[in-house]
Symmetry: C2
Amino acid sequence: MGEIHLRPRQIIIIVVIFVVIILFITNTRQNCEFPKYYRSSARKDDLPTIFAITPTYYRPVQKAELTRLSHVVMLVPNVHWIIVEDADHTSSLVTNLLQRAGLVERSTQLSAKTPTQFKLQGKDPNWSKPRGVEQRNAALRWIRENTSKDDRGVVYFMDDDNAYSVELFEEMNKIQAERVGVWPVGLVGGLMVEKPILNNENIVTGFNAAWRPERPFPLDMAGFAISLDLLHKRPEAVFSFEVERGYQESEILRHVTVLKELQPLANLCKEVLVWHTRTEKPKLTEEEKLRKAGKSSFDGIEV
Amino acid sequence: MGEIHLRPRQIIIIVVIFVVIILFITNTRQNCEFPKYYRSSARKDDLPTIFAITPTYYRPVQKAELTRLSHVVMLVPNVHWIIVEDADHTSSLVTNLLQRAGLVERSTQLSAKTPTQFKLQGKDPNWSKPRGVEQRNAALRWIRENTSKDDRGVVYFMDDDNAYSVELFEEMNKIQAERVGVWPVGLVGGLMVEKPILNNENIVTGFNAAWRPERPFPLDMAGFAISLDLLHKRPEAVFSFEVERGYQESEILRHVTVLKELQPLANLCKEVLVWHTRTEKPKLTEEEKLRKAGKSSFDGIEV
């Protein structure tokens, strides 16, 4: 076999075929079955980083809760998950969970112990003392130290027991600079839906809250997210142990926004994309019997 | 510019470069951040189809529960999700949810109403009547009609309120032909962990159940999955309204296996990958007041 003679036109044709094949491969290849509505916006670089702050504490259902919550974080590539444990040190339970979920590179593990005087005691009902204050403030401090005011980002408070849809995070991507996004929350405050009320010009004029509607911002922690630049502009915006029950949301929001500046999301507040679910405390009566007999059902097993 | 002369060796070099570039593109490109442990087995065609059967019924937390459960299904590409509603007809709530999750092509929506005499009445405690019997049997019927005995598959009963890890489904992929896989379940039967007990040869000899340990198979519905071929071999294996409380698992298993044939999974039953969580019934006192006044917090909104 001798030499092959190629004309310039033939070389151009070969190059075009080569480019077409590469474009075809890069466009059709899908490694996993993301829902289509999400795929279109999955170019992570174009998206703001969503800092999702999750205060948590040890109890029998903790790993179960964090495991199912990790799934929505896995599905939304622009979330940076900040888990803050109410403890002196971070735990191997959370470290292992983040490792197994493949989330080490886009998560931060912190600990911040609630001061003893603010801790729930024995039979205190769980609403009698503010919860998550120390932990959320530790996360806010971390965010202010590790981002700059020019970074595009959103800060969201994501409790470990609520139910969050993937679509909710799509909505957060739409939050404008220097604004706070708001949306309805299901199953909270004694209502099926607690939601912002809009006027004809789609400006938020109030909320439909039935519980303490006199609060400046009568909404749930799951019902808003804050543009990152606002946290840099208002370093005084934090949570406080000094405010009345139900006023934590109002406490941070009063520093960063006013009612009419809130940005209504989730199809102009007509869709529920997050639910205030609560998990039952499991009855461990048989475990208690074992314990009294010096035994355990879970020796060496992390539950 | 004249012709370009290429020797055979030069053509081979160009082809090799071309192939290397294509291999590089196809190997490095990742559309989403799946955890690494999962990526290795993400070649869907090599995997059995896991038929996950979820009985469900309308209540305020239903959409919240199914939404967070849909995330683990989205993350595991070889799951086929069979949702069976306790109703005369399938609902648009479930249809919309499957559509938005991008799961239409790998799910089946069924309905099967529990006969009135077996339905929980008013203040019956939720364990007083068997639940999910009619729905799980409808799903088993669908599976037997729509698969053949030579298909590779696994059948799992996935309730809508438990917490499931992605790793659990990796374990199910290991279930051998004509076998039933078993593993520990967290927070069930009054214990932190209810688990199979193995002897020195890693054969299952019993369970550590404290509640009704005399049952033939004293384990939870979340603690086992059945190789598809067994369901074709034993068409009589179904659930029954006629058995005592806590005996549904034993009822189906007695037709398809014996204790010593159970296949221990989850690191020889030393890891907890699924938890029997329960979601609180939300207090909707304010909604009730609105209802009495002829109002609602969720007109036109699906919660």
